[in-house]
């Protein structure tokens, strides 16, 4: 059984369990669906990663439904960054930790193939989402011919040349609504084996290059990846900027395997991060309140900070804010903090653990939720009900996947599992 686990890359990425368990095999995993995990299995896992990734997924689902009152209470209303930064940072951290360990154990080639197996899964998920998008277009195609928009929709290239749009989507160049973050994740993960081997030999050179590339994007907006439709179209999430967050996360995750980074434990750095995160909160939250009630003043006008707030280019404030909050979380919340193992935290943890599937589900549900809200309207109560329904579906699918994985493990049929979870290969 242990062997089967080691050779299943999906397991590694999904679980954040050490591929070579540091303590004896965690037999408690099989019972974790119905019971709170025993302290033995918890001791091996950084539940914070699962928890906050789950939180980011819930926020992403809610943020993607405009005209939803709850979207004003997600993480984006309290910090400059939003769910995208949290998701990419934690994904980088997890990938650095898991594949960094794999690389040290099995060498560049085998661990590289593991990474690319995961890249393939992400790609399949991207194609799946694109199918969903095209289905939505097909479903509403007649209605898109609405009198008020007919003329301007004529300019939407993908409606005029759907064949080309399909090819461009397969090449990751066509990124319609909500289909922009998986392409980013795909290219970043594809780069990871090379970056990880760089970390092994010259970590500071790689970090420096990564930060320099991010800085270059901030200074010169022309550094971007072209997208469809051309000629001036670029990827929404600029991979040349966002790589820095992902690989910084990856470096921290990789170093975490070896006892972490001592310099990050510096007391002054902690104070500095606290001050930064607090300032970010005060400014960002004042904008949120101002949005609710216009006469409320703001300490710093958004206008002055715009150049530092670009989402596509990962502006300085978004970047710094997510790093500061990550440092605070890592210092204030213990990896095995008790609340992370409670029933209340469980929905977050299981969604974060099955992040790829739940992510795709969240995108699908937000499109459906948006359709429902526009069909029936119904005000705040309806928005809350639709959001709650979506989150309940996400949680139950995650619970089902956990239950299924545990059942598979119990009956020792790991070989049959791969197709069931959409691994593909």
């Amino acid at each position: 059984m242990l062997r089967a686990r080691q050779h299943d890359p999906d397991r590694i990425e999904r679980r954040e369990t050490p591929a070579i368990p540091l303590t004896p095999v965690d037999k408690s995993n099989s019972e974790e669906i119905t019971t709170v995990p025993s302290s033995q299995s918890v001791a091996q896992r950084d539940l914070r990663l699962d928890f906050f990734r789950g939180l980011a997924l819930f926020c992403m689902f809610i943020d993607h439904m405009p005209d939803n009152i709850l979207a004003r209470f997600t993480i984006q209303s309290a910090m400059f960054a939003d769910a995208a930064e949290v998701f990419i940072f934690i994904s980088g951290y997890t990938a650095g930790m898991v594949y960094g360990r794999a690389m040290e154990r099995e060498g560049f080639l085998l661990s590289g193939v593991r990474v690319y197996h995961r890249v393939w899964q992400l790609y399949v998920a991207h194609v799946f989402l694109f199918m969903m998008f095209m289905a939505t277009v097909g479903f509403t195609a007649g209605a898109l011919n609405t009198p008020v928009y007919a003329e301007e929709f004529g300019a939407a290239n993908f409606l005029n040349e759907p064949g080309l749009a399909v090819v461009k989507a397969l090449m990751l160049q066509f990124q319609p609504a909500f289909m922009d973050i998986l392409p980013l994740y795909i290219v970043l993960l594809a780069m990871l084996p090379f970056v990880l081997s760089g970390f092994k030999s010259w970590p500071w050179v790689v970090i420096f290059a990564s930060v320099a590339l991010w800085l270059a994007v901030q200074l010169d907006k022309r550094i971007a990846l072209s997208a469809y439709p051309g000629p001036d179209h670029v990827w929404f999430f600029n991979p040349f900027a966002w790589q820095c967050l992902f690989f910084l996360g990856g470096w921290l995750g990789w170093r975490g395997n070896h006892g972490g980074v001592p310099r990050l434990k510096n007391r002054w750095l902690f104070y500095f991060a606290t001050a930064g995160a607090l300032a970010g909160f005060v400014i960002r939250f004042s904008w949120t309140l101002h949005d609710f009630y216009d006469p409320l003043p703001v300490p710093v006008s958004m206008e002055f900070l715009w150049p530092l707030l670009s989402k596509g280019d990962l502006g300085f404030l978004r970047f710094a804010n997510v790093l500061a909050v990550a440092l605070l979380v890592s210092r204030l919340i213990h990896p095995q903090a008790r609340f992370l193992a409670t029933r209340g935290a469980r929905p977050f943890v299981i969604c974060g653990r099955n992040s790829l599937h739940i992510f795709c589900l969240a995108i699908l549900l937000s499109v459906l939720g948006h359709l429902v809200l526009n069909e029936f309207f119904g005000g705040t109560l309806m928005q809350i009900a639709v959001s709650a329904a979506g989150i309940a579906i996400m949680i139950s699918v995650a619970a089902l996947m956990e239950w299924f994985a545990a059942a598979q493990r119990a009956s020792g049929t790991t070989a049959l599992r791969a197709p069931a979870v959409g691994g593909g290969a």
């Binding site: 669906i33 119905t34 405009p66 998008f133 939505t136 277009v137 509403t140 209605a143 898109l144 609405t146 009198p147 008020v148 928009y149 007919a150 003329e151 301007e152 929709f153 300019a155 939407a156 290239n157 319609p176 609504a177 909500f178 439709p229 001036d232 179209h233 670029v234 101002h290 216009d294 006008s301 958004m302 206008e303 715009w306 670009s310 989402k311 596509g312 280019d313 029933r343 929905p347 499109v367 948006h370 359709l371 429902v372 526009n374 069909e375 029936f376 309207f377 119904g378 309806m382 009900a385 639709v386 709650a388 329904a389 309940a392 579906i393 949680i395 139950s396 619970a399 089902l400 239950w403």
Partner: protein, 262 residues
């Protein structure tokens, strides 16, 4: 959370949604397309233009925009919202000399419109420019930061020339929302308007409100009916815009509540 308790939760939530959907009230087809106060209340008021209108001076107002300003859906420019806006103003201020010039071009981006400001718009010496924009950017998924900067530069240019500005955001239709991601562009326009103190005519929210209370149903298939619906929509928008622009001055010929609660 166990699977059982979860399925119970789901059933409960599904039931709630069902209840919320069920009593969908049936509204009369032809209702007044009034605009609730909340769409205007936090927007700054214009100063020069309403005063000039009240004093009966010559006032030129330029409308910039795309297909919806050009009135392509009705097939007739005099049924577009700028023409209806002019008519509503004339009705309310019979002694005023107001000329509304429609400079809209179909499928034009904000950038292309901004490039026309100093050549075509400013030489007309308008006292107000109503800039309808954002649709092409959202349909094509163009760069949001650049879009906002273009608008800001355009507004600065108008202000330097002593011209007031009103921004108008995108239209709302139930079916386009799932395919076109309007939200970030709406947010960008709202933030820009707030930061630059330019009044924003929230057409998207207003049209959503009309769809919600049943006063304007855009879901029609018949071609004739389509033109009628579009004409009615533009008439509603034009009159609402007249209210919006002249807030703060009492109408000389106070009409019996022309389609608005102002």
């Amino acid at each position: 959370m166990t699977l059982r308790s979860m399925s119970r939760t789901i059933i409960l939530i599904a039931a709630t949604i069902g209840l919320l959907c069920a009593p969908a009230p049936i509204f009369p087809q032809e209702r007044e397309c009034s605009v609730p106060e909340r769409f205007y209340i936090s927007e700054p008021q214009l100063t020069k233009t309403p005063k000039a209108i009240a004093h009966g001076q010559d006032v030129v107002i330029v409308a910039l925009g795309g297909a919806s300003t050009l009135s392509i859906a009705t097939g007739k420019p005099d049924l577009g919202w700028p023409a209806r806006f002019a008519a509503a103003l004339a009705e309310r201020f019979p002694s005023a000399h107001i000329k509304v010039v429609n400079l809209a071009v179909g499928r034009q981006t904000a950038k292309q419109a901004a490039e026309r400001l100093d050549r075509e718009v400013i030489p007309m010496k308008p006292s107000l420019v109503i800039w309808e924009t954002g649709t092409m950017e959202a349909v094509r998924g163009m760069d949001i930061d650049e879009f906002r900067e273009t608008l800001r530069a355009g507004i600065d240019e108008l202000r330097t020339a002593g011209i007031e500005a009103v921004l108008m955001n995108m239209q709302f239709s139930r079916d386009s929302e799932a395919v076109i991601h309007f939200e970030p562009y709406l947010a960008a326009m709202s933030q820009l308007a707030d930061a630059t103190d330019v009044p924003l005519f929230r057409r998207h929210g207003i049209m959503r409100h009309w769809a919600e209370n049943g006063s304007l149903d855009l879901r029609v298939t018949d071609n004739d009916q389509r033109r009628r619906v579009a004409a009615r929509l533009y008439d509603c928008i034009g009159r609402a815009m007249a209210d919006f622009v002249t807030r703060g001055i009492p109408a000389a010929n106070s009409p019996a509540k022309i389609g608005s609660d102002r």
